[in-house]
Symmetry: C2
Subunit: 235 residues, 2 copies
Amino acid sequence: MLHNRHDLSISCSTCKVSNLCLAHQLGEDELKALDNIIVNAAIFEKNEHIYYLNDKADYLFAVHSGCCKEYATDVEGKEYVNNFYLPGDLMGIEAFTSRVYPFSAVALEPTQLCVIPINQLLSIVSDSSNLPIRLLTIFSNKIKNDTSIRLTTNAKQRVADFLLNMSLRLSERGHSPEEFPLPMPQLDVSNKIGVAFETVSRILHIFQKQDIISINGKRICIKDIEKLREISTST
Amino acid sequence: MLHNRHDLSISCSTCKVSNLCLAHQLGEDELKALDNIIVNAAIFEKNEHIYYLNDKADYLFAVHSGCCKEYATDVEGKEYVNNFYLPGDLMGIEAFTSRVYPFSAVALEPTQLCVIPINQLLSIVSDSSNLPIRLLTIFSNKIKNDTSIRLTTNAKQRVADFLLNMSLRLSERGHSPEEFPLPMPQLDVSNKIGVAFETVSRILHIFQKQDIISINGKRICIKDIEKLREISTST
DNA sequence: CGGGTACTTGAATAATATCAACAGCTGTGG
DNA sequence: CCACAGCTGTTGATATTATTCAAGTACCCG
């Protein structure tokens, strides 16, 4: 459902996660131009789709609040998760060239998204000195973070990696790095890290038994972050 | 070893792989500006390093000829390959923000690289209308291609995926999609796809027995590309 | 021709997936 | 407010896959 951003009191100049998003380090004029082309925000309920695989891609989406999952399903209906998106993250970057979403995206909780028309974004990119750099920085960071997944890792490493990654990203967004709510169910975690969900459950219990973490419903408490780091880097 | 690009008869306007590289679809002035900041080319012998993990990153490198491997080694000395770079590919993108290479890079065969100073590239980005778009396109393509690795895939799928990927990329560079030389040893392939090298060897032999491919030294011949596609998408 | 690197092949072992049964929680409608 | 359905997570037994270890062969390069 589309809203005027102003209705929801959203604007890049006052947004709490603008430092993680497109608006970071833009000049006043650039900020204004950006605010100008992002006229709309969209509200999605839990389990509502933002776009589907192969949809025509005219928009990028900036997460303002909530959490989304980008995923695809193989021929047998098995799902794999490409990424989770938290406030300040930009969704749809992969479609920048082809203008077709290579994944489906769905809200994991009630979510507000800022709707960015790609063509209009491109038109202000040429007139801006900082925006192209900012976009390149965001893209470069995504490349660095997404491609550093090591295919050789075993299940414990992957779970440890995932927890550390969530801890880092959530702490950038105001949570404690030691204690935070996991915005997604374990099934989605397993489909992200490429491990059977039973294995994820088992490993989380092992970590609890070893007093590395504790779990309370959706809340994760990391009690020994050094140990987690060791696990994630060891063989 | 650094050379003036002209010495090696390299310039973006005459380069055979410019359509895969930065120069693609640039205007005449932009091409000139680009050629102007890329004054040098570097020649590397087989096994010579281009940069090492954590080196200060002042340059991107465009592969003009040859093939490079970007890799890291874990605490136990186990290597994993982040990517292979073919002519027209841009190396070092991951360092764009941090200005530190997050991997080491080495030539797999005699290789010519165009040396692109990042700061100078940024300075002409602001003055150019097409270059920022071109850079974003390259970055976006890299995100799309690199992150579509599914962690859930089994060894056969990964080998099939790898062969199809090499077939596609080499065919964009003038080779036949059905028959081409693999520029890297199987050990590097195994470290790229995260599978033991013995397993890669076994699977290549299985594919040969099933008449899907044939191998002659470093030359791969794909005899049944449809079957390969089936394997890469099935469970 | 010799030495090393790349590759092959088999057997034992380890890791993880799969199958299965069940427990706990949540939201919904009677 | 309770009962039930459905979803999420747990736990054990078994099957499958891939790794590891080991020994050997082929090939390329000097």
